[in-house]
Point group: C2
Chain length 322, copies 2
């Protein structure tokens, strides 16, 4: 058993020592750039944590953990093209710094690299790890497609939205934990439970992200506040606001979302959100998923003290200490 | 042992019965479109052929063979964006029929699907198959990068060019044959020899493609003649022409490649190619790679009659009957 702090240190060491440069340089330099930018390294950390709580040998989880992080960064390269996101982690995104073709092809190469690392998983766990990895990769693509569809789709229901963030965000968090459990030879039931823990904590995490975008403090959140409102993004808050609004409030929401001045727009939308108690509604939903995740954790057949790091990780994620 | 014709029939049956439609439709319809367009299905055929000559069970090679074809089609989706190729197999390419974002994301999903099929390889061959598949996927990306670099790079040598087409085209042909041999439990030396056979026949195949683009008959070639000249593509012919040209011929080549009228341009470049005997030079090079491929084939430790289909396949590829 290792503490989350120890595992974080290990993850940092692994990635500080990675070198992805090869020939042709035009292909590998953007990969090195993307993978050197840091970020939370949440997915490899969760893979190590999943392995550690089941008493597994950390060396066995390192290759697929690296694969998970490279895969995640590959999706960012391509998502940034599709979403025209010029900035990533405070730096120019790859398609901005180089060009679209580079972001496509270096991204594809990262996808191969991810599989290269996953393939290094010990042979007896390889098929199980590949199956969840393939399934997850496919679901992440499906999630991105729904996300893009929702930009132009007039009505998006709460269920649609939750399914989209499950696919786009939660499944990779859950897969990281599950892969850790698999290579620690956890039994199939516990492996499924840690996966379901991951899904629910992943949903809570994304809803919290939606909430902080509207109601957070910029220094803590690390991104400008109100960006989702400015871009008319159909977040959880947006969807339940329209769901709860009466016809006059709906009109006001429509008018507010059409305002050209961003400062006015954000404050006008927030005013209606406040009237509709959207913050509280969202917090309630986050709490629901958090509680559900804890139930799955409770049911994993390990002594409570062995699961301690997962409990405090979940709590930390909710208060954004991680 | 099966004849190439029998195997071609089997490949057709496999792909005629594939259905890739899933949800969301916007993600899977372009995949269905791409994979229903036919094409030569050369790579799965070679995987079956590689398996068959070594007396393997064809059922074992079908999943990775499907994976190879899906992978190949994935690269076409992304290459068509990068190369701005509006037409593919006589139909609008995916990025033209839908849009760039669709071609990126449906392409990514095809890449996952390819791995999904490869993962279905029998467990005892899985690591070997994945290793060559990963290596090949990476090399194909590298080949595409070199190809794009060469568009703007002033000097490209013959060696550079051969290395580029080895990566972009030959390695996938060779990998298909090798994967067939692996799942037929061929020994490591023979597996390497069939791979090297594939590399050389792949190089010969691509050089023949370059040749036909300039000197072929449109009905036989299936594409408009002279397209490489019109687009100033640095093909094998272009490179050796500049290599052989004296200073006055170099000037004439430069001037010809700058002509605005495409009919004039093609005939003017072809005139210089003819003076420089480029057709013969290219045919000599094709013959060299063809002979080399046959040597590797000769050295595979199987009775000559068992290799018959590979010999005639190689000859057929050279006369473009396949």
């Amino acid at each position: 058993m290792h503490t989350t702090k120890e595992l974080q240190k290990k993850v940092s060491e692994i990635f500080d020592n990675q070198n992805y440069i090869g020939e042709p340089k035009g292909l590998y330099e953007p990969i090195q750039y993307s993978l050197s930018q840091g970020g939370k390294r949440l997915r490899p950390l969760l893979a190590l944590l999943g392995c550690s709580v089941f008493g597994g040998d950390l060396e066995k989880v390192i290759p697929p953990a690296i694969g998970l992080e490279i895969f995640h960064n590959f999706t960012l390269l391509h998502d940034d093209i599709m979403d025209q996101a010029a900035i990533r982690r405070g730096q120019p995104s790859v398609y901005t710094k180089w060009d679209t073709n580079t972001a496509i092809l270096s991204g594809d190469t990262m996808f191969v690299l991810a599989y290269d690392y996953v393939t290094k998983t010990e042979a007896k766990y390889l098929v199980d790890v590949l199956q969840i990895f393939n399934q997850t990769a496919r679901e992440v693509c499906e999630g991105q497609q729904y996300d893009m569809n929702y930009e132009t789709q007039e009505f998006v229901g709460v269920k649609d939205y939750i399914e989209m963030i499950r696919l786009k965000t939660a499944v990779l968090i859950a897969a990281a934990l599950k892969i850790g459990a698999i290579v620690a030879a956890a039994d199939a039931k516990d492996t499924q439970k840690i996966y379901d823990f991951g899904i629910n904590i992943g949903l809570a995490f994304q809803l919290r992200d939606d909430l902080l975008d509207a109601f957070g403090e910029q220094e803590v959140f690390g991104k400008p506040i109100g960006n989702d409102i400015v871009t008319n993004k159909k977040t959880f808050l947006y969807i339940i606001a329209y769901d709860k609004a009466d016809s006059s409030q709906t009109d006001r929401l429509d008018r507010s979302f059409k305002l050209q001045n961003n400062v006015e727009k954000v404050s006008s939308v927030l005013e209606i959100y406040n009237q509709l108690d959207i913050k509280k509604e969202t917090e309630k939903m986050i709490e629901t998923y958090f509680e559900k995740s804890i139930q799955y954790l409770d049911n994993i057949t390990l002594a409570k003290e062995k699961k301690e790091e997962l409990y405090s990780f979940a709590k930390g994620l909710m208060s954004r200490e991680v």
